[in-house]
């Protein structure tokens, strides 16, 4: 579904990604871990071209994103949901309008259809009573659940999660992870950058360890956590587990 070939990204003189190649299949749940500064968020943001790669190619469902005109790229992004660390809900809109804005303004649904979809999604994320409220009235965990609902409203083929629980109070992490677990069980393709090792172990179909701009090791979680090969991964795991 997503194929990455020799992806590189620099910010000025700072060489963040130094050649990433991987392939993410439909239905996979890839969890990316690594120390801060390892480039894992940049890698994720390159997948939907929020960051423009310096070199390399990215394919999504057979089409090369890195060779696309901007207009086509926006059409692709409709199919690639993204959930941010800091939620980025639209503060001037009600929760319902946060969810319905994109499908309606892109002409994918009528306002009625979108409202119906929003009601379903709000029920799914357990926040049906919040439809008329504004983002500022919600807790962090609730905001993130709404952000997930907002990306689901576009019926995406894959959702990219950029440290979705890192900005949350500890007692709110659970509700967001539970929702993500539910999505995973329903077969959603997911790429998740996170520090939640429990989530990686239990939900991931593959865990990827990034360090210094490279994918240093990747494996299915059982093997990854019990039998790490790379010394840097072993060191990282010994510190976080």
């Amino acid at each position: 579904m997503i194929r990455v070939e020799n992806l590189e990204k620099s910010f000025g003189n700072l060489h963040i990604l130094k050649g990433i190649s991987t392939h993410i299949e439909k239905g996979e749940k890839v969890v990316v871990i690594g120390p801060s500064g390892s480039g894992k968020s940049t890698f994720l943001r390159c997948l939907n071209l929020l960051e423009k790669p310096t070199a390399g190619k990215i394919f999504f469902e057979g089409k090369e994103l890195t060779a696309m005109k901007e207009k086509e790229l926006y059409a692709i992004r409709e199919k690639m949901g993204m959930v941010f660390q800091h939620f980025h809900l639209f503060p001037h809109l009600t929760i319902r309008d946060n969810i319905t804005l994109a499908p309606v303004k892109l002409g994918l649904m009528s306002q009625e259809e979108a409202d119906k979809k929003a009601a379903e999604l709000l029920q799914k994320v357990g926040l049906s009573d919040k439809a008329e409220q504004y983002p500022n009235q919600l807790s962090g965990g609730q905001k993130q659940r709404i952000a997930i609902a907002r990306s689901l409203a576009m019926n995406p083929d894959v959702i990219l999660f950029d440290e979705p629980t890192s900005a949350l109070d500890p007692e709110m992490v659970g509700e967001v992870l539970a929702l993500m677990r539910e999505l995973a069980d329903e077969g959603m393709t997911m790429v998740v950058v996170t520090h939640e090792m429990g989530f990686a172990r239990e939900v991931a179909s593959r865990v990827m360890f990034m360090d210094g701009g490279y994918i240093v090791e990747e494996n299915e979680p059982q093997e990854f956590f019990t039998n790490p090969q790379n010394p840097r991964l072993r060191e990282f795991l010994s510190r976080v587990l």
Binding site: H88, L106, S151
Partner: protein, 229 residues
């Protein structure tokens, strides 16, 4: 002559008060349409400038906008007014109200543009990214996500700009437009009495500005309320 005789002499004789009321009409007319022009043009310039700042696109339009801002903000509005009237429209027979609207509108646009641009740039980049990640292109993100938030933030500054504009139109007498200030001046030259007509003119401006400020305060408070709710 006592005070009431002077009052009578200044405003009642020959219906001189009409210089003030007619002048006020012109002042309000010019302020209103100049504000409209300033808003429309100012928003366009701000969108060009911030689009360039954010995406690097529109380099030529951006350069033109920057030049425009430099020239307009670097020269006095009175000089601009006179250039438009005595140079640009020198050989055309156009209404002075139209010239004043153009001059003050074009001038105000430069200040509105910088206010709007600061409003756009103050919105967290995450809002642009959230829009893009949902497949909303730059213009749609701007229209539905960024501008509504920016507008709310800059409303007080914007309103203040129009209060300033109202007062600035008082130099329109230099192209012989009979605005409020000019009306007071005509009375002064007819009665050789400066105090009453000028104070009257000042009072009218003051009442207008205070009323407008009150309106802005009201608006601000309502916005603050809906921010929480």
């Amino acid at each position: 002559m006592n005070f009431f005789d002077k009052l009578h002499e200044t405003f009642i004789v020959d219906d001189r008060w009409q210089y003030l009321t007619n002048g006020l009409k012109i002042t309000l007319l010019v302020t209103f349409f100049a504000s409209l022009l300033g808003i429309v043009l100012g928003f366009l310039i701000a969108i060009v400038r911030s689009t360039h700042d954010k995406t690097g696109k529109l380099p030529i339009l951006n350069a033109a906008a920057k030049l425009y801002l430099t020239v307009i903000r670097g020269t006095p509005v009175l000089v601009q007014l006179m250039i438009i009237y005595f140079v640009i429209f020198a050989s055309f027979n156009v209404s002075k109200v139209f010239v004043a609207v153009m001059a003050f509108g074009l001038n105000s646009a430069a200040y509105v543009a910088e206010i709007v641009r600061s409003g756009i740039m103050s919105i967290d980049n995450g809002q642009f990214e959230a829009g893009a990640s949902l497949g909303l292109n730059y213009p749609k993100t701007m229209l539905y996500i960024i501008l509504p938030q920016a507008l709310r933030n800059i409303l007080p500054a914007l309103a203040n700009e129009f209060i300033v504009l109202l007062k600035e139109t008082s130099v329109a007498g230099n192209i012989a437009l009979n605005d409020l200030t000019k009306g007071g001046d005509i009375i002064r030259s007819a009665t050789y009495e400066a105090f009453l007509p000028l104070i009257a003119v000042a009072l009218i401006y003051l009442v207008l500005v205070v009323a407008l400020s009150k309106l802005v305060n009201l608006l601000e408070r309502r916005l603050a309320k809906s921010d929480q709710g």
